[in-house]
């Protein structure tokens, strides 16, 4: 219980730091956001319009008061309204976050389902054909940028083979089959890097564990190879994989932003990119904070999972 509470406190503290940094970046960078927002094509904006916008954004108030309001808003989950279309930022996020979460979940599951068994197999048959082929495959998977892979997947599967639609979204309730078909390619594009990293880490970690003293004990007991692998190697070897899973989440979330755009998946990325183009500050801040929060949350879950996997962590 203390373990969970301490992780939770740490995550909340980091979330506060992240929110503060976002606030500082927007307010301490030279230049007036209101002026920037209204200046299109290099022409000097109308000073009265700038002044009005400053009042509307609260930029005329002391910086500490602005910060207080910002934090208070966050606690009420009130992220303000879009400057462009006046939508509620929180409402927009609530609508789209589940779709982004679905992609992340599908990509992570895919990476684990492929990476873990393949890594174990390659480690057990170290130096074999599968091992050597996979070492080249993962090198390529790690090198190809997500948006490149996504685009190429569309080219091959949608354009040339006509197996799947080029992208888009159908709610699961309306047509489950179509929904999953549209989910497949983006999930592959996002999960490819993680799958490669999980594979490599699992392989290295299983090799490490195989030479551990406690595995020698297990062999000295006369256990079967299958039992040693299942009971004494894979579970112990999984902890470092969990670590890289957490570390790689940042890249995975970044990849999701790009892949949603490539496949027209209506998650958080569409409004984010539109908001960055249109300098829609409240929307950018809301979505950046949501995804960063997601990153911190996933890392907290990863740390809690250590405790499940390794009883030694719980004691700390």
């Amino acid at each position: 219980m203390t373990f969970i509470a301490s992780r939770l406190a740490r995550t909340l503290f980091l979330a506060w730091l992240v929110a503060t940094i976002v606030f500082l970046v927007l307010h301490l960078v030279p230049g007036d956001p209101a002026e920037l927002l209204l200046s299109t094509g290099g022409a000097m904006p109308d000073p009265t319009a700038v002044a009005e916008l400053r009042v509307r954004l609260g930029l005329d108030r002391p910086i500490l008061a602005q910060y207080r309001d910002f934090v208070a808003g966050l606690m009420r989950l009130d992220l303000g309204r879009s400057l462009v279309d006046d939508y509620s930022v929180a409402g927009e996020i609530a609508l789209r976050l589940p779709r982004t979460l679905e992609l992340i979940f599908a990509a992570t599951t895919l990476a684990l389902v492929i990476g873990v068994p393949a890594g174990v197999y390659a480690a057990v048959h170290r130096g074999g054909r599968f091992d050597r082929v996979m070492s080249a495959v993962t090198a390529v998977l790690l090198a190809v940028p997500v948006f490149v892979l996504g685009t190429l997947l569309i080219l091959v599967f949608a354009q040339m083979l006509r197996l799947t639609p080029a992208g888009g979204f159908v709610p699961f309730g309306r047509n489950p089959g179509q929904h999953l078909a549209l989910l497949a390619l983006p999930a592959i594009a996002i999960g490819k890097g993680l799958a490669a990293i999980v594979f490599r880490m699992m392989r290295a970690s299983v090799l490490d564990t195989l030479s551990a003293d406690h595995v020698r004990t297990a062999r000295a007991k006369g256990l079967s190879n299958a039992r040693i692998l299942a009971h004494h190697v894979v579970r112990n070897a999984f902890t470092p994989v969990l670590t890289v899973l957490g570390l790689h989440m940042g890249a995975l979330l970044g990849g999701t932003v790009l892949v949603e755009y490539v496949f027209n998946w209506p998650g958080l990325s569409t409004p984010l990119i539109r908001a960055v183009e249109g300098r829609d500050y409240p929307m950018v801040v809301g979505i950046v904070l949501t995804i960063s929060g997601l990153f911190l949350l996933i890392n907290m879950i990863v740390e809690l999972l250590y405790g499940v996997l390794d009883p030694r962590v719980r004691a700390r």
């Binding site: 230049g31 090198a143 940028p145 080219l155 990153f295 030694r312």
Partner: protein, 612 residues
């Protein structure tokens, strides 16, 4: 450190070609990469445009090469800025600690809490897209990485002897940082540099692809992919070229980075991993017996493949262990004791192989197949190891690990196995056994863990128990308790015990007979009382002289056991022996001096020894 040249040469050549092409772009006589020719939009490859033309009729090859210039310029500038600033921050934080650390390293940690692309988008929102924004943003993004690497390296470097030495000479801080520490942490920084370079190229192209990075019409790979996407149904090749060049660039940098890392960090290189494995194995293993349930080892040899050729750390080892007998195998580290034992149980690593014979229950252990060997292990022959800390699986309750041993060899329900484990815990003297069954190894002391290991080993009432330095990791009082427990168990069950140790005091306490090993050879064998009363081999004498005794000061043995690759000819002890003569360089046989008393030394005269 030898590396396959191709591993470095191929990616390095690719990168060099790309850099040269990018630098020489203005000199190559390429068509203007931004000049449009709408009439010939999406034209296929021709003599004047080798890779065809894009959606505005611009030359694709020219745009690829000029795009390399854009990508590399942005990535190299940003990485260089991040490297310089980040390294300085890390050095300052790591050297001065305290407040400096808070403002450098901790701030870097917070920046790392953002997914990189989000921080990038945040900066683009504030500053607007463009080359300057890209460089600034990527520098901010990657500075913390360098700070962390430099900080980590300096923390370990500042405590090292060479830094301490320069400090003691009175060198100033900037001088130490620049002259002593920086060159020593340059390797990891170089690796970080190439990793960052690849990541920066990916983010630059990704943002340009989203239309938030490089501003058109400046050629950029990301923009080219963005443009070609719209026309992929008419001209799929246009999409392929930039994708291919971008991926190949990242791949080349990654491969070079892997090679660099192996150079910089020899720990991760396969060759040295093998070396380390070999070194770990040399403190050896043991077995014994004869007759129906004893063990007879004859001419046992263990060979290990190493990157520098095969070595033979155990040669021509022969001994017997009678039923119910305790045999001690004694020698310094590197004498081959533990390897001998490991070989008997078939637990040698895959790079090692055993030859000779080890007859147990009328079967040669060295020729048994995996299944037959597994049926014996933990059943008729059990083993306990030196380090009870690492020999138990940290993620399972100890009770499960004991029950597992019983269930591996007998059909036993889980409750029955648990009841048996409980009885075993009582037998090996674990207090409060009902509660302790569900505890994890880290909740036990070293002595208690070794008791758990013993419970596992005796779960199936083995005929032979091999104990490899079972008390070395424990303090003296616990040592005595464990020895008593092993002696009691042996008396109760009538099992044979092979006890491997470098501690002669323990030998006197527990063993009936003793085998003395040196550098993979048996040099002396006999009853404990006789050997201790009158050691024959100079090595045994030296070992005994090195033990502190009431009436004499210990005399340490000069020198160390040579590594197996440099075992001397003849008697392997002769370079360290005060009685060595030219004849000692000839091979020595183990000769029986009196019944049951064997020695391999030409200076021991059998007849006279026997008469006196």
């Amino acid at each position: 450190m030898r590396l396959p040249p191709a591993r470095v040469a191929i990616p390095a050549t690719l990168i060099a070609l790309l850099v040269i092409a990018a630098l020489a772009a203005p000199l190559l006589g390429l068509p203007d990469p931004v000049r449009q020719n709408v009439v010939r939009r999406l034209a296929p490859p021709t003599a004047d445009a080798w890779l065809g033309r894009d959606e505005f009729g611009r030359d694709v090859l020219s745009r690829l090469i000029w795009g390399a210039r854009t990508s590399l310029f942005v990535a190299v500038s940003a990485t260089a800025i991040a490297a310089i600033v980040g390294t300085l921050l890390g050095l300052i934080g790591g050297w001065f600690r305290g407040v400096a650390e808070l403002f450098t390293v901790r701030v870097a940690d917070v920046v790392l809490c953002f997914p990189p692309i989000l921080l990038a988008l945040l900066v683009v929102t504030v500053l607007g897209p463009g080359g300057g924004t890209l460089i600034l943003m990527l520098s901010i993004l990657y500075t913390p990485g360098f700070t962390r690497v430099a900080y980590g390296e300096i923390l370990s470097a500042r405590s090292m002897d060479y830094v301490e030495a320069v400090r003691a000479l009175g060198a100033t801080t900037p001088r130490i940082l620049a002259r002593t520490i920086l060159p020593n942490i340059a390797g990891p920084l170089l690796v970080q540099f190439s990793l960052t370079l690849a990541a920066a190229i990916v983010i630059e192209s990704g943002l340009s692809f989203l239309g938030l990075g490089t501003v058109p019409p400046t050629p950029s790979w990301g923009l080219m992919i963005r443009g070609a996407r719209a026309t992929m149904d008419q001209a799929p090749l246009l999409l392929l070229w930039p994708c291919l060049v971008l991926t190949a660039t990242i791949l080349a940098i990654n491969l070079l980075c892997d090679a660099l890392r192996d150079l910089v960090d020899p720990r991760s290189a396969s060759a040295s991993a093998l070396h380390g494995l070999g070194a770990r194995l040399l403190p050896g293993l043991v077995t014994a017996g004869q007759g129906p349930t004893g063990l007879a080892v004859r001419d046992l040899r263990v060979a290990i493949e190493t990157p520098n050729g095969p070595i033979e750390p155990v040669s021509a080892v022969s001994f017997d262990v009678a039923p119910g007998e305790t045999l001690a195998i004694v020698g310094e580290s590197g004498s081959g004791k533990s390897l001998t034992a490991t070989a008997l149980l078939g637990l040698l690593p895959r790079t090692a192989s055993a030859a000779g014979a080890a007859v147990f229950d009328g079967r040669d252990l060295l020729t048994l197949d995996d299944a037959a060997m597994r049926a014996l292990r933990g059943n008729r022959i059990a083993m306990i190891f030196q380090d009870p800390m690492s020999s138990l699986n940290p993620v399972h309750a100890v009770g499960t690990q004991v029950a597992e041993a019983s269930r591996a060899h007998r059909t036993l329900s889980k409750p029955a196995a648990r009841a048996e484990a409980l009885a075993l815990f009582r037998r090996v003297g674990i207090a409060d056994p009902e509660r302790r069954l569900d505890a994890y190894p880290h909740e036990f002391s070293g002595g208690m863990r070794q008791r758990v290991m013993i419970a596992i080993a005796v779960a199936n009432r083995p005929a032979l128990l091999i104990a490899d330095e079972p008390t070395t990791a424990l303090d003296v009082t616990i040592q005595a308790q464990i020895l008593d427990l092993l002696a009691d168990l042996r008396r109760e069950t009538g099992m044979s015990l092979i006890f491997i140790t470098h501690n002669l005091g323990i030998v006197a306490e527990i063993a009936d007979r003793v085998v003395v090993m040196y550098a993979g050879h048996v040099v002396e064998q006999g009853g404990v009382a006789e050997v201790f009363a009158a050691p024959l081999h100079p090595y045994t004498q030296a070992l005994l002289a090195a033990v502190p005794a009431e009436d004499a000061n210990p005399v340490p043995i000069q020198g160390t056991v040579p590594p197996p690759s440099r075992f001397p000819d003849g008697c392997r002890f002769h370079p360290r022996c005060s009685r060595a003569t030219a004849a000692c360089k000839e091979p020595q046989a183990l000769r029986e001096i009196t019944p049951g008393r064997l020695v391999a030394c030409i200076h021991v005269a059998p007849a006279r020894e026997a008469v006196s």
